[in-house]
């Protein structure tokens, strides 16, 4: 069950960090605020998000921190658990921007919580850089202090609809989380599907539901050509298992949570073969920036890199970059100004915020080969064979 109010500091993580890579010579520290989830239903995706932040912080500190105005600063992360709750998000944001007086706050998983944090960021003039939530509204509030590194559900939908249209997978049905991510995804697709694709059965389920049998049955009898699974890794593995068990002849389309080796471990090559999924970054793409990140991630966490981690990893570097350019580690408005204009080439691609603070990173579509490896199908200019996805 979700908790009541306020957020919890993951003291352990902070400890781990300060041990991290702080060299012998005395140095200034700058504390960056992180809002995420370490308990409750969102703890699992929260872990990937935090992995990204921790890895970034460790690398920065490993290289002796970053320099602003001739001073070297080490990064400390203040991580608060907000369980995807608006009230707790507000509490955490309020505390980070006043008590902890951090220069910038990153992260979040839930659009609703982010929507409660954004106005506080503006009140207290502390930039809020979102790295996972996809609700399009978040960057449509004319709030100059809100930035988003990851693609929102409309951007994802645009690329995906384009891809699905090219494949001619019609009718297209859905099984989606009945939360901001799932509903946002369905609505986004509904708006951007090309005319040649008809919208089929839409099955929503609550976070925590595990039985998809009635959706599977309805998808079969609706004669859907493809089914899009808008959910996280764990329900995703169940949905695929149940679709395959029922032997429904549909093309499965997944989310970035379903294009990883850890997902392969949850199922097997046979059941995944042919499935496609969008991804913020394909961990094995033949690009140095992606390779380098994937290797470092694997080395530290013993598993393949996750999209949320990549987005969050870039998010922290973007924040640092902005502080460098603004020549301050305290002045929110200056950092905000720097963010608005900076261009940063991260592991997920080029990050440049538009007038509303929304970046437009590339969206990839990868596909499972029969042997349990993945290939890149989209964007066309990035297409690469099995093992590259």
């Amino acid at each position: 069950m979700r908790s009541f109010i306020a957020a919890s500091a993951a003291a352990t993580v902070i400890a781990a960090l300060s041990i991290g890579g702080s060299p012998a010579r005395a140095q200034e520290h700058v504390t960056i605020g992180i809002v995420s989830a370490t308990t409750g239903p969102f703890a699992a995706p929260g872990k990937f998000e935090l992995n990204g932040f921790n890895l970034a912080a460790e690398e920065i500190n490993g290289h002796g921190g970053f320099e602003v105005g001739g001073k070297h600063y080490l990064v400390d992360l203040k991580i608060y658990d907000v369980h995807a709750s608006a009230a707790e998000g507000a509490s955490a944001m309020q505390r980070l921007t006043t008590v902890d007086s951090v220069p910038v706050v990153l992260g979040e998983l839930s659009s609703a919580a982010a929507a409660a944090e954004a106005p506080i960021a503006q009140d207290n003039q502390v930039p809020l850089i979102l790295t996972v939530p996809t609700g399009p509204e978040l960057t449509a509030q004319k709030n100059p202090y809100v930035f988003r590194v990851n693609a929102n559900s409309n951007q994802l939908a645009k690329s995906l609809a384009d891809f699905v249209g090219k494949q001619g997978w019609s009718p297209l049905s859905f099984i989606a989380w009945n939360n901001d991510a799932g509903r946002g995804g369905v609505n986004g697709m509904r708006e951007s599907l090309p005319p040649n694709i008809k919208l089929g059965y839409v099955g929503y389920f609550n976070v925590g539901d595990v039985d998809f049998s009635s959706h599977v049955t309805n998808i079969r009898s609706s004669g859907a050509k493809a089914v899009m699974l808008l959910m996280d890794e764990e329900p995703g593995s169940l949905a695929i298992a149940q679709l395959r068990a029922a032997d429904v002849p549909v093309q499965i389309i997944g989310t970035l949570a379903m294009g990883s080796d850890r997902f392969l471990k949850r199922l097997d090559a046979a059941r995944l073969a042919g499935m496609v999924q969008y991804n913020a970054f394909p961990p094995n793409a033949p690009l140095p920036r992606i390779k380098a990140f994937s290797d470092r991630y694997k080395a530290k966490f013993g598993e393949e890199a996750h999209g949320f981690a990549a987005q969050s990893y870039d998010g922290l570097f973007v924040a640092i970059e902005a502080m460098k350019q603004a020549k301050t580690v305290t002045d929110g408005p200056k950092i905000r100004g720097a963010l608005a204009h900076l261009t940063y080439d991260g592991v997920i691609g080029r990050i440049k915020f538009d007038a509303e603070g929304q970046a437009d990173p590339p969206v990839y579509v990868t596909q499972w080969c029969d042997d349990g490896r993945r290939r890149i199908l989209y964007p066309a200019d990035m297409a690469a064979g099995c093992g590259a996805g």
């Binding site: 370490t38 699992a44 929260g46 009945n178 595990v210 039985d211 049998s213 009635s214 593995s237 068990a245």
Partner: protein, 291 residues
């Protein structure tokens, strides 16, 4: 359409079996202790984790793993009854609060011990598929139904054909009188609660392999299990069984005609409707003035 309907009814039966399994423990505890134990779902979840732990770390035999999980939870049940629910007897409000507090304790302890990621629990019985017309169900699902019915039968036999069972029914019907005829009501309550906990462990052990083992795995079934026993009229084994299947079928069939994001709402509209027509559930007796 007819075919689709039939298929959804089957899906509903499978789903209902899960609710029944969870409802049985709830019902037993309510019937005897008059406690709506909101922590039952958390106990189901704990049972799932324990079964998975025994299976993957102690002995790779599913039946023994289930037994292990049950044996491990029995004392937990005893302690909870003696330590928490016995002192709160006849205090409906505080019993509910206490059980909600226990949910927090159990779910978050599990989170600390096992972490947030869902555990997988692969069994042969989940891989074997049994064709059923156009549908296919895994052996595990039939195992759930079988176990559910077995529990019903066992419970029924226990309550009706054993000396202790008679004491339990006597206590359920009239604690005062039971006391008079020399029944150790305290012991009956503790044992009953322990049995309820065992049923939770059983349910968790069966659901874990069917789906996943994760901290919130008990929440949904708890809600539907509660609805099932209330729909069934509280404190009747058959009420719980029929209530559970009814909810499962309504849920599954509703997806044919009603937008699926209102699926839970539909189930609860039905429950509300039934209770408004029959204020004491499908099988509860009605009297006008009891407070």
């Amino acid at each position: 359409m007819m075919l689709a309907l039939a298929e959804q009814v089957f899906n509903g039966v499978m789903l209902g079996a899960i609710y029944v399994l969870v409802a049985l423990g709830l019902m037993l505890v309510y019937g005897v202790l008059r406690v709506l134990n909101f922590a039952h779902g958390a106990l189901v979840m704990l049972g799932g984790y324990l079964c998975q732990f025994v299976f993957s770390h102690v002995i790779a035999s599913y039946p023994l793993a289930i037994a292990g999980s049950i044996v491990a939870l029995l004392p937990v049940g005893w302690v909870l009854e003696r330590g928490v629910f016995a002192p709160l007897r006849d205090d409906l409000q505080n019993q509910v609060i206490a059980s909600l507090g226990l949910v927090l304790v159990i779910e978050n302890l599990v989170l600390v011990v096992w972490g947030p990621a869902a555990l997988q629990f692969r069994l042969a019985t989940t891989q074997v598929l049994v064709p059923f017309g156009p549908l296919r169900f895994s052996l595990q699902q039939f195992l759930v139904i079988g176990a559910g019915l077995a529990c019903v039968a066992a419970l029924f036999a226990f309550l009706n054909f054993t000396k202790f069972g008679t004491a339990v029914r006597a206590t359920a019907q009239h604690p005062g009188a039971a006391l008079v005829v020399g029944i150790d009501v305290g012991r009956v309550h503790a044992v009953t609660f322990a049995i309820g906990t065992a049923l939770a462990a059983m349910a968790g052990s069966l659901l874990g392999p069917l789906f996943l083992v994760f901290p919130q795995m008990g929440d949904g079934p708890l809600l539907k299990g509660l609805a099932a026993i209330i729909l069934g009229g509280l404190g009747s084994v058959w009420g719980a069984v029929i209530g559970g299947f009814a909810i499962g079928i309504v849920e599954a069939v509703s997806t044919l005609v009603i937008p699926t994001d209102y699926r839970d709402a539909v189930a609860f509209i039905v429950i509300a409707g039934v209770l408004l027509l029959r204020p004491h559930g499908l099988f509860g007796r009605t009297t006008r003035y009891e407070a």
